[in-house]
Assembly symmetry: C2
Homo-oligomer: 333 residues x 2
Amino acid sequence: MKKLINAPADVVAEGLVGLERAHGDRLRVDHAHRLVLRAHAPRPGKVGLVSGGGSGHEPLHSGFVGRGMLDAACCGEVFTSPVPDQVLAATAAVDGGAGVLHIVKNYTGDVMNFEMAAELVAAETGVRVEAVVTDDDVAVQDSTWTAGRRGVGVTVLLEKIAGAAAEEGRDLDAVLAVARRVNERGRSMGVALTSCTVPQAGRPTFDLGEDEMEVGIGIHGEPGRHRVPLAPAREVAAMLVEPILADRDATGEPAIVLLNGMGGTPLLELYLMYGEVAALLERAGVRVARSLVGNYITSLEMAGCSLTVLGADDDMLGLWDAPVDTPALRWGA
Amino acid sequence: MKKLINAPADVVAEGLVGLERAHGDRLRVDHAHRLVLRAHAPRPGKVGLVSGGGSGHEPLHSGFVGRGMLDAACCGEVFTSPVPDQVLAATAAVDGGAGVLHIVKNYTGDVMNFEMAAELVAAETGVRVEAVVTDDDVAVQDSTWTAGRRGVGVTVLLEKIAGAAAEEGRDLDAVLAVARRVNERGRSMGVALTSCTVPQAGRPTFDLGEDEMEVGIGIHGEPGRHRVPLAPAREVAAMLVEPILADRDATGEPAIVLLNGMGGTPLLELYLMYGEVAALLERAGVRVARSLVGNYITSLEMAGCSLTVLGADDDMLGLWDAPVDTPALRWGA
């Protein structure tokens, strides 16, 4: 295992030290609870947005805390759900009197712990909490740590769009509604060329032959649809685009497209893949209205990529374009 | 070799197709010359900024084209200098009547080809051209493809700062002066945990044992100062900070600090490393005024990182903070 770390057990805590040092002008870290929060207290009347999950997917979620996006991120151990106490503390910290939305990726541990936290919040604080659970991965129906589909790339788009809705002052029902609409209309599919190595495990999560790739990979290395021989980028693009389009109702609407790197694939390859994907989408009648190419929901140093296609209405496009000021997404601000 | 590509010979051309599809609203690509240009014609009276070099270091340079930064990037083959004709075409395309600054990393081929291009520009167009050559890498005095020090991370900071100076209307002499000041006051040092693989070579550029790292690595895998056993992050941080501080005249001034990923290292590790580096800098009396953490000047999928410390005066800090709108750096716009 070759990593720029100290003791494997300290990776998450020490990563947060660095994040705080780099972005202390706009973020603060609650080290006891492993929360990343905006530096300034919540604006009264603004719906609070809390997300979180296992670490190792950076910039998701900690890199998306800031104006126009999340109010707090709860950081679990690498590939391990945050505990209910973290989510409780985050929810209490960001409540501005208008309620709090929990954004949860569909993994059994995450869903359970966010639900337990919501019960604790109700019992201890009276803050109104709603939740949206993302399940956009078309690869498989159930998975290693998931009943139903896994939540992946659409989470990034949802955090941006719901974050903008909250920032412009919409109430909790309205923010929840647009968040659910994003999840319903977003679809994703991923591919891995290599495994990743969890620091505390010390060896690759799975084995993949020198000439193999895993199509439909999960963000923790969960098995996908099939293991196939390494193929040219344009064939890989088809393996991502076709299952997504086969799963969607409409293809003519404008789309927000995320071509996401898993962490270890160079940007040159991600842009090359985006070119292949965009050409296929265009041929299928999908009008790409907005795009995002880069490492946004990663699996440590895994080589590979995922594609997310979100059929977006004008409201979503407007919210996408709204200013955002976070470590990993920043524009108009 | 596991890469998301088609034919190895087409990687650069096809990467540009994807870049254009993703950012066609603000960039255009001259595919014949392999140039990335701003979508809109140069503003009369603005100094033009042209950079370029071998591909494989993305987002450098193509991801830094846009308002407040470069006017054009010349994309060579992977780890191969662009040819003079590319630089000539870029220079002619971006001239707004106020002259053009060439930003060149100190590699023999790059320096030679930019110089030849400047001669062609003088002979064919009469556009005034000046050049700044970056040589910030303290690791070694001469290197595989370099006489003198190599140009690395300071190039990112220089393109931002000189780009802002040009955008606010400074003349060529003034833009050149601030660019040279940035290079003179910036120092860098890198470390690699793994090699990278050039697509057309098909195998790793160098061999590194499972328990080894290369301290002082170049961005094309050129040898550094020494090969040492893998060490904890806080020791690696000292191996980067100490040679930089030993090479600088003053340490009390405010600094802009770039903790850069080589391409294959997860963001979690980069932030962890930044925490270690920032603590050492603080202890040495360096006041970190601005920081940037992420993959900005990469070596394909190499695992590792580099540190750049720039002693910045108020003018540089103001130019750093000015709005920028490029694929890879975007704020205030």
